[in-house]
Structure formats: C-alpha cells, structure tokens
C-alpha cells in the first residue's frame, strides 16, 4: 500500500458557519494502481487531492504515504517527502514564469540537491517532445506545451506517486488526449502510482479504479 487515507475530514469556517468539505473519507491505494477521483464541481475532489499531497492540512483523520503519517510532519518535512516521492500535474500548469522550460524541469532535482539535473531534465523534455524548446519561457509556449513541461517536471524525479489535478482541464480535446497518452505512457514506463482528479469520463475509464465523491462523501470505489 502506498497511500492510506483514514477517516479524513476537512471543514472551514465561512461567514460564521462551519462548512464541511470532506466527510470521513477512508480508502487505500496500492503500489502501481491508477485511480481517478470524480465528482461534481464542489464535491471536494481537489481538496482531497491537496490533502493526499500534504499541500493542505485536514480537520480530522490521517493520510499515510509509504507508511509515513503526512500530518505528523511539519511543513518542511512534508515538502521533503513530496520532493522525494511525489510528482504533480496541475490544471493550470503552475510553471514558474521566471524559469525556462529546462530550468522548470531541473527545479525538483536541484531542490533535492540531486545529480545531473541538466542532463536528466533535457532527457525527459526530449521524451515529452520538447527537446527543441528547452530554452523557452512558459509564456512562449502553448497550453499543451506548458502541460507537457509540467508532466516532465512531475516525472523527472521518478516519484512513486503522481498526483494530477484536472490535467486536461485547460486544454482542447486533441491536445488533452495527447497529454493523457503521455501521462499514461510515462506511468507505465516508470511504474508510478497515479491518482488523478477529473471531470472527463473517458479519462476516468482508463484508470484502474474510480473513487466517486458526492458533497464531500465517498459514495463509490472505496
């Protein structure tokens, strides 16, 4: 088991009332699995994904990644864990605008003080078909290209767990399909565990398992 979620809950205070976004969620994800989290807008999909990554803190419950309790760590500890074992792909790419494509991909390796950052980044950019555009800044790339850089950045540290939040949400269907192909291809090549949040039924069907969220409750797939 790579991810364990136990009685996870998240509420926030909003205009004096408590708004519960996630209720008592529990499930487990095994090594090498691919899992889609689906549900209507506002059902808590992205919040759940954020908690799996330790990007946010829960109100109750726990998340373990590779047996480590995420929320027993401090912010820096979680950052270090992410750096070592997780990769991310966001709907809006989240590339750093002051860095070139190559530099964006080198960033996770360098943050870990890893070796050969430049050649490894160059190599994976070639793998995603951007070998010629490594010196371009994000603003000089199309949406599909930016997402491919983001995917390269997610895979460059060879993480055990890859988390993707609506990876095709900002892309047209043809470009989206290309990105998905790439994502699954890399997933297969590297044996990564994949968790993705999506609206796209076709994309969800390609995953081994579907977790269905409704109003913050897990209604199917646990």
């Amino acid at each position: 088991m790579i991810v364990g979620v136990d009685q996870l809950g998240k509420s926030i205070a909003h205009e004096g009332a408590v708004l519960t976004i996630l209720h008592d969620i529990s499930f487990a994800i095994k090594n090498g699995e691919s899992v889609a989290i689906v549900g209507a807008s506002g059902s808590g999909k992205s919040t759940l994904l954020g908690l799996l990554a330790g990007l946010d803190t829960p109100s109750s419950g726990s998340v373990t990644v590779n047996g480590v309790d995420l929320f027993a760590l401090d912010e820096d500890g979680r950052a270090a864990l992410r750096g070592r074992s997780m990769g991310f792909v966001f709907q809006s790419f989240q590339l750093l605008p002051m860095l070139t494509a190559l530099e964006n991909v080198m960033l996770p390796i360098e943050l870990l003080n890893g070796q050969d950052a430049r050649s490894r980044a160059q190599h994976i950019l070639e793998r995603v078909g951007l070998g010629e555009r490594t010196a371009h800044y994000p603003r000089q790339l199309s949406g599909g290209e930016q997402q491919r850089v983001a995917i390269a950045r997610a895979f460059v540290t060879e993480p055990a767990l890859l988390l993707a939040d609506e990876p095709t949400g900002n892309l047209d269907s043809a470009t989206g399909a290309n990105v998905i192909e790439l994502l699954f291809a890399l997933n297969r090549e590297r044996g990564t565990t994949l968790v993705l949040v999506t609206h796209d039924a076709a994309l969800a069907q390609r995953c081994g398992r579907i977790l269905h969220l409704d109003a913050g409750r897990l209604v199917e797939g646990a």
């Binding site: 912010e75 864990l81 989240q94 003080n113």
Partner: protein, 826 residues
C-alpha cells in the same frame, strides 16, 4: 457614479485598496507634518531674530511719530514701546564725553533681553526693562572713557542721573553697526527734564511693535499707506544682512526636508498605484466583456481614485496635524519656548498634493488599463496592453514636477532637485538594467538557491527595475537627509568658526598701520587683513544723475542718499563669488567696479554700466565689470563696491579690519584705545551668537522633520516589496509543492532582496553624493565635503534594510499551506 462607489466599497472590503490608501495616507501625513512644522518653526525663527529689532516691526521717523499709528496698533492688540535717540554730551565733574543717548519707554524691549552688570566686564544679568526714571545705564566704552563706576552721578543736559548699571547687551544695538559714539541709556520720562530736545534737534524716533503675525502684517500694510516724509517701517529682514542671509539658508534647509518627503511620498504612491492597476487587469477585462466601454471604465476608475485619494489625503492631513502637535510638544523648550499656532493651510495643501500625486501616477497606467484586451478573460497569459503614448506619462511627470517645484518654494531649488531626480532615474535605470543583465548572465553559472534568487531578479526585470529605482530613491532621500544633512550643516557652521571675527576696528589711519600690526604681534594675536575704505556718494549711473525719488523702495532711497564705503583690492578674496563678468587683472585699465549682487539689483545696475562717485569733491567713474555675491554671515569685512587700486588709491582713505578677540581678553581693548585714541571698536559677538543660534535651531528642526521623512521612506520600501508579494507567494507555493524546504525558500529570497538592496544602495549613494554636491555648491553656497559613509551605509544598509523589509513583507510565504496560496492566486 453610484456603480463606481459600490465597486469602491467592494474593493475596500476585499482589501484591494489598503496599500494604496495607506501609502497615500502616510505620504500626505509626512508632507503635512513637515509642512505644518516648518511653518511653525519658521514663524518661531522670525520671532527669535526679531530680538535684533527688540520688536517685530519698527516705525522709524526723524520727528515725533503721529498718534494714529500707536492708536491703530493698540486697537489691533499689538504691544508697543517707544525709543528716541540723539547725540549729546555727558558731563561728570571736569570730564565730558560725546554719547549717543537712547531713551526708552517702560515696555522696552518687546523682543529679546537687556543684560546689565554692576561692574565693568562683570557677569551680565538679564533685565526685563530699561533704566528706571532718575537713573541711567552706560556701556563699557563710556565707563572706560570717562572712568565711571556704578553709583556715580552724571549730568545729561539739565538732568542729573544716577548711574545704575553697565550695559552688557542691548538687543537692537546691533542694528546700527557703525554707530560710533558710546551709549547712554535713560528712561524716556526723564527726557523733558534734560531740556535737550529743541526744535531742530537731530532725534531718531522709534515706535516698536510686536504681536500676532496676522495683525502685524495688517498693520504694516495699513501703515505703509500712511507714512509721511522721513518715516519708514522695518521688519527684521530689512535690518541686518547677516541675519537675512542666515535665515535664507535656514529656510532652504527646511524646504529641502519638506521636498524630500514629497519625493518619497510620490514614489510610495507610484509603487502602490502601479500594483493596484496591475491587479485590476482581470477586472477590467471582465468588465469589458460585460459590455463596459473604455470611456465607462475610465470614468468608473477615475471616480474611485478621486474618492479614495481625497479621503486618504484628508485623513493623512489630519494625522499630520496631530503629528506636528506631538512634535511641537516634544520640542517645547528645546527648540523654542513657544511655537506659534500653525495655520490650517498645510492641511488643504497636503490634501491637494496627495490627490494630485495619485492622479499623476494612476492616470497614465489607467489609460493603458482600459485598453486591456477582452481576450484576457479567456487567455489569462495575455499580458497588459502594450504601453504606448508618451503623452499620458508626460502628463503624470508634469504634475509631479509642478508639485515638487511648488514644494521647494523656490524655482531654483525645485529645479535642482527635479533635475537631480530625473538624472538619478535615467542613470539609475541604465545602470540597474546593466547590472541585471550582468546578473542574468551570471545565473547560468550559479548553483542552487543562488540560481533561483538571481533568476527571480532577472525574470522580473521590469518589476526589479521599478523596485530598484523605488528603493534607490527612498534610500537616496534618507542618505541625503541623514549624512549629507550633517555635512551641509557643519559646512554652514564652519563658515562661522569659533574664531570668527567678533570685533570690528574702524577709523584706522594709513600711517597707523605699522604700529597696529606691531600691537597685534605683541599681543600674540594673528594680524588681520586691513581694508582701505573711501567714502563716496553715488552721483550718476551711465551719466544720468542718481536721485532718491527715482527708487520706490525706502531702503534703496536711503542707500542712495548716504555715502558709500568703497574699497580697493588687487585680488578677489577667496569667498567672493563672481556671478557675472570677471575680476580684473593687474594689466587691466583701472576704471572698473565690482558691485555686490543685491545692491546692483536694488539700484538696477547692470554689468557694463558706468558708475560715477563723488569722493571728497572729485568725480571718479568706472564701468561695472563684475557682480559679486557676498557671504554676509561670515563676519568678514565686506564692501558693496570695490575698485582696482589704480582707481581709488589716490583718494583720502582710512582702514577697517575685523578680528577675533578671545573671550577673557576684553581689557586688551583698553590698551588698544589708549595707544590709538581715534579708533572705534565695534563688538559683534552678540550678532555672531544670534547667527549661531539660528543655525542650531535649524539643525534641531531638520533632525526632527527628518524622522517623518524616514517614515515615508520606510513606506516606500514596504510598498516596493509588497508590489511583488503575490508573485513571490505563488512561486514559493509552487516550489513547496515540488519539495522545497523553508530554508531553501528563505535563502533564495534573501539573495534576491540583498542583491536588490545592494544595487539600490550603490545608485542611492551615487545620487545622494551628486545631489549633495549640487546643493552645496549651487543652492546653499557652501563647500562640498565628500563623505565615504554615504557609500558604506548606502550599500550595506540598503542590502540589510531591504532584506529585512522584504522578508517581513513575504514572511507568510513560508507559513501558509501551499494549496491555499495556489488557489487564491490562480
């Protein structure tokens, strides 16, 4: 309009407007505090220098002054005193002495203090009023000349008076420098008993007036209309060139401090305004999508800015009013015992300036903003519209320039500062750009956090440039005010060193010079320079006769009527500043004159004019070949008109000198006068003290005013950091998502801020040094002193200060969970 206000309220609630509001508030508060305070200190300084008149205003006449003046002044709530002065003879036993009698009313003096002692050269004691009826006071010279002591009875005309004290200091005595007779002061009620004043007696009548500034101004205007023959009215500015010169410099210093606060304010508002508009690109695009025309958008934002600007400025003005009250309270007894109440003008002025600054800085970007492509709603990565049109920026720059020149209160100071500012901006922009290029080259070789720190700088080149310039201007102003201020003040004070001449010696005959030099040598005093002095009356300019009635100003009329002291010199003295033309060479024809600038202006004398003087019946003519500026407050012997030796050498002359008499050696004057009985010694120590006091007061005032400017400077730094805060939060969140630890993030930010700070520091130190040089040489007319600390503190302080401010402003970057930031900023 209503929509604009609703939007304003929403934005306020959302916290969008707080930085802009805050920057404007602090800016206007700083401007008005300085303005209120300098306004009050200037009023106080005026009051203080008025001690030299013993009043605020003096009405002077050669006949008894009409009762209507006193009645009018009393009705206006002004305080009054009367003096009259005439030459006469004091008799005691067989001895008699020619004196200048001054009779004073019981309320004399209105400003300043009389100081007397019981024995010759004894310690002075302050006395609120003049001598009581039946008594008289004598100055040290009269006591010495007649061998008098306190308690002796003397005769003045038909009156017998008992000598009650030795005059140590008389506030308005300094007013007539070349008054050569010793002083006897008596009570005005004793004058009828003397029976000395008859028809045709040469008597100077004075009505001394003091009180509220407004009432004084009104009285002066009223009286000026009603002055008869032989009557004139004088304020302090008319009285003494030394004091006038010191006051002018004092006002320039204070003006400078006020100006710097205005510049800082402008920078803070510019930075905040820029950020506000940058954040509103999206709103604009959305509003455009919803059908708002460019004109509607423009109106919408304009109304918002005017309402925002007005309320922030007014509030800032009120804070300023409170601030200066606290300041005045802190300074009570330190600077002045009682500051006059401020006028409310600075409040209106501060509000108007705040509003103008805001519009100057937001209008140009607003004009761009409303042209935002609507497509931005869909494709967020589309940037702001391409900046075009120099016109809108010229408008903004013009408004700022107008505000600065207005604040300087003087065109030349304003233009220098403005020119300096523009120069610093342009040169700064160029060097900052160069340094950034260099750094972005360097980052390819940098590793780890260094790489990210430098990459940030290079990527945000435009923002970095803005920040560097903002920081540099803020730092420059602070450097200018702290270090350079001290240099300027000390250089001013060094114009009047502790050994500045405090005695003038006049009426020296040419054949006495060798013996006098020997006297100085024997007494181990440095031999002073002796200046020849020839008395002559100006009779013609360009062969047209000079008549007093041709000049409207009372002071000029008197200048024309009396004899001038002319002098001759081969070389120009070091401190002469030739403003036009050139000094003569030995080979030149001798018929030339060098004229003091102010005199030339009063008499309307131009370079090249031909002046004719009547010197003891001989007519001497020459052309004006140079106009000179004279530093009156250095206490050197100065002349309005100087000629080459060849022109005047053959005329009857005597000599004048000034020298420093160390305190405690006053009895040396007795020996001097015994050996050279024809000499007259004039004591100017009191004037020197007054000039020094003005310098000290100004130095104090500038220091306190500086604290507020410092606050404005800190807001600039903070606003500049906040301008890129969101970008930083976002980037840090992404980096955290990718596994960056706090230490790594903090280090990258450290490097970025420290580099920004150091670059700004270099620019600021350069700018401050150049500005100080220009200010010293061109505006304040003082020698420039190079100060290496400007550079050390500029660079090190800049880097440290900006790093601290930057880390403070972005500290939440390291604390907030990344998901919240990413969502909020997406």
């Amino acid at each position: 309009m209503r929509l604009a206000l609703r939007l304003l309220a929403r934005e306020w609630r959302a916290g969008e407007l707080r930085l802009l509001f805050g920057a404007l508030l602090v800016a206007v508060a700083a401007i008005t505090t300085v303005s209120f305070f300098t306004n009050r200190v200037q009023l106080a300084l005026n009051t203080q220098t008025n001690q030299l008149l013993a009043a605020d205003l003096v009405l002077i006449a050669d006949h008894p002054i009409g009762a209507q003046f006193a009645q009018r002044a009393e009705a206006a709530g002004l305080r009054l005193a009367r003096t009259l002065a005439f030459p006469s003879m004091v008799v005691q036993g067989q001895r008699n002495q020619f004196v200048e009698v001054k009779a004073v009313s019981p309320t004399y003096p209105l400003r300043g203090d009389l100081s007397t002692s019981k024995v010759l050269f004894g310690p002075g004691e302050t006395s609120p009023n003049g001598p009581k009826p039946g008594t008289a006071w004598a100055d040290a010279r009269l006591m010495q000349l007649m061998g008098l002591k306190v308690g002796d009875v003397i005769s003045l005309g038909q009156a017998r008076l008992s000598l009650a004290a030795v005059i140590d200091r008389e506030p308005d005595r300094a007013g007539d420098f070349f008054n050569i007779a010793p002083r006897l002061m008596v009570n005005i009620d004793d004058i009828p008993r003397t029976q000395l004043i008859q028809t045709g007696s040469r008597v100077g009548y004075r009505l001394l007036i003091a009180g509220d500034e407004k009432a004084l101004a009104a009285f002066r205007a009223w009286a000026a209309q009603r002055l008869g023959r032989g009557e004139r009215i004088e304020g302090i500015g008319d009285a003494r060139p030394e004091i006038r010169s010191a006051m002018e410099r004092a006002q320039r210093y204070l003006g400078l401090a006020a100006l710097v606060s205005a510049i800082l304010a402008a920078v803070a508002v510019a930075l905040a305004g820029r950020q506000y508009l940058a954040r509103h690109l999206d709103s604009c695009a959305v509003l455009r999508c919803l059908g708002a025309s460019q004109a509607t958008l423009f109106r919408l934002y304009l109304v918002q800015f005017v309402v925002l600007g007005f309320s922030a400025s007014l509030l800032g003005g009120l804070v300023g009013l409170g601030g200066q009250a606290v300041l005045a309270e802190l300074l009570r007894g330190r600077i002045v015992s009682d500051l006059p109440a401020p006028s409310l003008w600075p409040l209106a002025e501060g509000t108007a300036i705040g509003l103008l600054l805001l519009l100057a800085f937001v209008l140009p970007p607003l004009l761009h903003l409303i042209r935002v492509p609507t497509l931005r709603v869909i494709r967020r990565e589309m940037g702001p519209p391409q900046q075009r049109g120099i016109i809108s920026y010229t408008l903004g720059a013009g408004l700022v320039a107008a505000v600065l020149i207005y604040r300087a209160g003087e065109i030349s100071l304003g233009l220098y500062v403005l020119g300096g500012l523009l120069g610093v901006l342009l040169v700064g922009l160029f060097f900052a750009w160069l340094l950034l290029r260099l750094l972005s080259g360097l980052r390819r070789h940098a590793r780890g956090v260094w790489f990210y720190g430098l990459a940030n700088l290079a990527r945000r080149r435009a923002a970095s440039l803005t920040q560097i310039l903002g920081f540099a201007l803020g730092l420059m102003a602070l450097l200018l005010l702290t270090l350079v201020r001290n240099d300027l003040l000390s250089s001013w004070q060094s114009a009047l060193p502790p050994d500045a001449p405090n005695r003038f010696l006049i009426n020296i005959q040419p054949n006495q010079l060798p013996a006098l030099r020997q006297f100085f040598q024997d007494e181990k005093l440095a031999a002073p320079n002796f200046y020849p002095m020839v008395r002559g009356r100006l009779v013609a300019i360009n062969d047209r006769p000079v008549r007093a009635e041709d000049y409207p100003e009372e002071r000029t009329k008197r200048l024309v009527e009396r004899e001038f002291n002319l002098s001759w010199a081969e070389q120009a003295r070091k401190d002469y500043e030739i403003k036009a033309g050139r000094w003569w060479r030995p080979s030149d024809a001798p018929d030339q004159f060098s004229v003091e600038e102010g005199l030339a202006k009063s008499l309307n004398i131009q370079l090249g004019d031909r002046l004719s003087y009547d010197i003891a019946g001989t007519r001497v003519s020459g052309r004006v070949t140079s106009l000179r500026k004279v530093a009156w407050d250095t206490m050197q012997v100065n002349f309005f008109v100087i000629a080459p030796p060849g022109l005047l050498q053959s005329q009857p002359a005597n000599y004048i000198t000034s020298f420093h008499l160390p305190s405690g050696r006053e009895t040396l004057l007795n020996d001097l006068l015994r050996q050279f009985p024809n000499f007259t010694v004039i004591d100017v120590a009191a004037i020197i003290n007054d000039v020094r006091m003005i310098m000290d007061r100004v130095s104090d005032a500038v220091t306190f005013v500086f604290l507020f400017t410092l606050l404005a400077g800190l807001v600039v730094l903070y606003a500049a950091v906040l301008a890129t805060r969101n970008e930083r939060l976002y980037e840090a969140a992404v980096m955290r998502t990718l596994g960056a630890r706090s230490r790594q993030l903090a280090a990258a930010q450290w490097i970025e801020f420290a580099t920004l700070g150091a670059i700004s520091g270099v620019l600021a130190a350069t700018g401050a040094s150049l500005s100080a040089w220009v200010l010293a040489e061109q505006v304040l007319h003082l020698p420039y002193i190079f100060n290496v600390w400007v550079w050390v503190i500029g660079v090190v302080g800049g880097a440290a200060g900006i790093t601290a401010a930057g880390l403070l402003a972005t500290r939440s970057v390291l604390r907030v969970p990344p998901l919240g930031v990413l969502r909020a900023l997406q």
